[in-house]
């Protein structure tokens, strides 16, 4: 295998890793704020893709408007889910809440199938088709666009947490809910905000993922890889999601290129198991100390 091929494979891996990272950030956001492991993240992503299709192909809106509306739909869904399903479960065991999100995922898949059928569909083309060459290495234009979009959104998030009031409120809530309450932070609002933001992000990621590979009710399995990403990075670490996303993207691409496509999932999950043995809370996760 020559160096050029290796470079191309790694570029493709980093490209898809950026989408993992973006979805991973959405996942971490929810976990940080509300301690909910949202297994429906893949399905929310899927819904984003379908919403885009509905706005762009169904209503004939231009791609940009459809993208914005898809993101807004994701946000609305996040708000709805938080208020109707997650809020009533406050204080229940984490396992129950996690099962609620599994149920939610199932409901979303069913709704999408009811509306659009079970067949895979393609989003209208809205991305440039001219190939991108970095040096001599080829990079699929869609993957390049996906990478740039993901990088911009993640950078915006990082800036938000660092510099805005609500970002600080989020960090405070994540650190200690009780303390956050006592200094006057509206914790329920932080919860809502986190869900809205995260689901909007996931929906946006869904449009990117759907533009690259098409959409289908089963594209929620993307969430499975995202799960690996956030567990490897540490459930409550944004940096972890970034590193984990790129790492998993790379590993999958390399495994696909040198072992064969069927090895992708098994390699990442084996990596996950090994890592769990060594660092049970991921690369950057907080180790919680339990007290009686």
């Amino acid at each position: 295998m020559d160096a050029l091929f290796l470079a191309e494979v790694m570029l493709a891996g980093i490209g898809s890793g950026a989408l993992y990272a973006l979805t991973g950030v959405a996942f971490v956001l929810i976990y940080k704020a509300t301690r909910v492991v949202n297994l429906a993240i893949g399905e929310i992503l899927m819904l984003g893709g379908y919403a885009f299709l509905g706005f762009a192909a169904g209503l004939g809106l231009p791609a940009i408007a459809a993208l914005v509306l898809a993101v807004v739909t994701g946000g609305l869904l996040g708000w709805l889910v938080e208020r109707s399903l997650i809020r009533p479960m406050l204080g229940e065991s984490p396992i129950s809440v996690f099962m609620v999100t599994i149920g939610l995922g199932s409901i979303l898949v069913g709704l999408v199938q009811l509306g659009w059928g079970a067949d895979p569909l393609r989003l209208p083309e809205f991305m440039p088709a001219t190939p991108v060459f970095i040096g001599d290495a080829y990079l699929a234009p869609k993957v390049a666009v996906g990478f740039v979009a993901a990088a911009v959104v993640i950078a915006a998030f990082l800036a938000l947490f660092r510099f805005s009031r609500s970002g600080v409120a989020l960090k405070a809530t994540a650190g200690d809910q009780g303390a956050a309450y006592s200094v006057g932070i509206d914790v329920p609002r932080v919860f809502s905000a986190a869900w809205i933001l995260a689901c909007a992000t996931a929906a946006g990621a869904g449009v990117l993922v759907g533009a690259i590979g098409g959409i289908s009710p089963t594209m929620g399995v993307f969430g499975l890889s995202v799960l690996v990403v956030v567990i490897i990075g540490g459930l409550d670490s944004i940096a972890g999601a970034l590193v984990g996303g790129l790492l998993i993207g790379l590993v999958e691409a390399l495994a696909g290129a040198f072992l064969g496509g069927e090895y992708k999932l098994v390699v990442t999950f084996t990596l996950l198991l090994l890592l769990l043995m060594v660092r049970p809370y991921g690369l950057f996760g907080t180790h919680e100390i339990e007290r009686l």
């Binding site: 083309e125 098409g214 289908s216 594209m219 290129a257």
Partner: protein
């Protein structure tokens, strides 16, 4: 199962029948002359295979309507009893059990390879029916192991054979790549297909496996470009990720022709590939709904009954129902009972049979498959798959 078991069972069941057997629907229709012949079906009306299942369902119904309007088989109508399976094996088995507990079934349509394998020993044990279905798995094309089953077309390996023969004729010594999904469906023809390619002096330069349900194929496309094939055959998919594969490959300036197998070949499926569809080829055992070359009285009938385009699934269901009932007709003509082995013998007696033009050539069924097909190529201007070769008989 020995003969002893059902007997004992019937006796006990008889005594207990008063205790509410009727509530569970134990009644069985007896097979008198004039009584309907039953075609049962485990049909995937919902789920991932619904796009084909809905067509299959309509195709079977339409053919039986034509048959019954013409007086049925020797005065006996054919009754169609179907259940939805959502393309799940356990649901298919449940449907099979349910239909068989309510009707005396002679012909059956099964929806998947898994179901065909699961139910095979039960078919042998009952010995009362023959089955065909949506699976073209190579494994099923073995009259010894699957004596009471068949498929209304070439098996997947034979489809590869037809494609490879076409390639060998178009460009002797061509470089060929296989792209297939990591499923039973995808892996089916690969090993035998590669051997056949060697026989035809074609070079298989790359075999790419994609994980099921994968959407991101950028790495795989890179591999494909390295291999630089003249022809790329996709198998084990319906649509995704074929369009993305082709789009990216074309963007990279690849010159390969792209090909698919039966379940990808529906005209509306290929149309959904968008720009990637141009020049897409594949193997098809039947004529398309809109084909007007040659005489095809049965297609004319279909176009009369259904003014709109009908899918390849529809044609598959239609043809399957035709062959199943033809087997029943030949069995009754020979003055034999409708048992599984008799029906299969009737089916195998089909020789140079005219399907009303649905298959482009007269067909024979010496074993479990009908190894006939033609290469079609998508014409973006006409938005249709157009014939690219003559009918190829293996």
């Amino acid at each position: 199962m020995t003969a002893f078991e059902p007997n004992r069972r019937r006796i006990i069941a008889g005594t207990a029948a008063a205790a509410g057997a009727m509530a569970f629907g134990f009644g069985r229709a007896s097979a008198q002359a004039g009584a309907p012949i039953v075609l049962g079906g485990s049909i995937p009306l919902t789920g991932v295979f619904a796009f084909a299942g809905i067509g299959i369902h309509a195709g079977i119904q339409d053919y039986l309507k034509i048959l019954n309007d013409g007086g049925g088989i020797k005065g006996r109508p054919v009754k169609y009893v179907a259940e939805d399976t959502a393309y799940k094996v356990d649901a298919s088995v449940a449907a099979f059990n349910k239909i068989n507990s309510q009707e005396k079934v002679s012909l059956y349509y099964g929806d998947s390879t898994g179901f065909a394998k699961t139910i095979n020993s039960e078919l042998d044990r009952r010995g009362t029916m023959i089955m065909a279905g949506a699976s073209f798995a190579t494994e099923l094309n073995d009259p010894k192991k699957y004596p009471l089953q068949f498929m209304a077309g070439p098996d997947y390996t034979e489809m590869f054979g037809i494609l490879l023969r076409y390639i060998a004729k178009e460009k002797p010594g061509a470089r060929v790549a296989f792209v297939y999904s990591d499923t039973e469906f995808g892996r089916d023809p690969i090993v035998l297909g590669e051997a056949l390619a060697k026989e035809l002096k074609l070079a298989v330069v790359e075999k790419i496996v994609t994980p099921p349900g994968s959407v991101d194929v950028s790495t795989e496309v890179l591999k494909l470009r390295r291999a630089n094939p003249d022809f790329t055959i996709f198998h084990g998919y319906v649509l995704a990720p074929i369009p993305e594969f082709i789009t990216q490959a074309k963007q990279m300036g690849m010159r390969s022709a792209f090909m698919g197998t039966f379940w990808t070949m529906d005209n509306s499926t290929v149309q959904r590939m968008g720009d990637a569809a141009e020049g897409f080829m594949g193997v098809m055992p039947y004529r398309y709904y809109y084909d007007r070359d040659g005489s095809a009285p049965m297609l004319d009938r279909i176009r009369q009954m259904r003014p709109d385009y009908q899918s390849t699934g529809y044609l598959q269901g239609f043809v399957t129902a035709m062959l199943l009932t033809e087997a029943a007709k030949r069995t009754l003509d020979a003055g034999k009972d409708l048992t599984g082995p008799n029906l299969k013998a009737g089916l195998n007696s089909i020789k140079d049979f005219d399907t009303g033009g649905l298959f482009g050539v007269p067909i024979s069924i010496p074993g479990n498959s009908v190894p006939v097909g033609r290469i079609y190529r998508f014409d973006a201007k006409a938005k249709q798959m157009q014939p690219a070769s003559d009918w190829i008989k293996l």
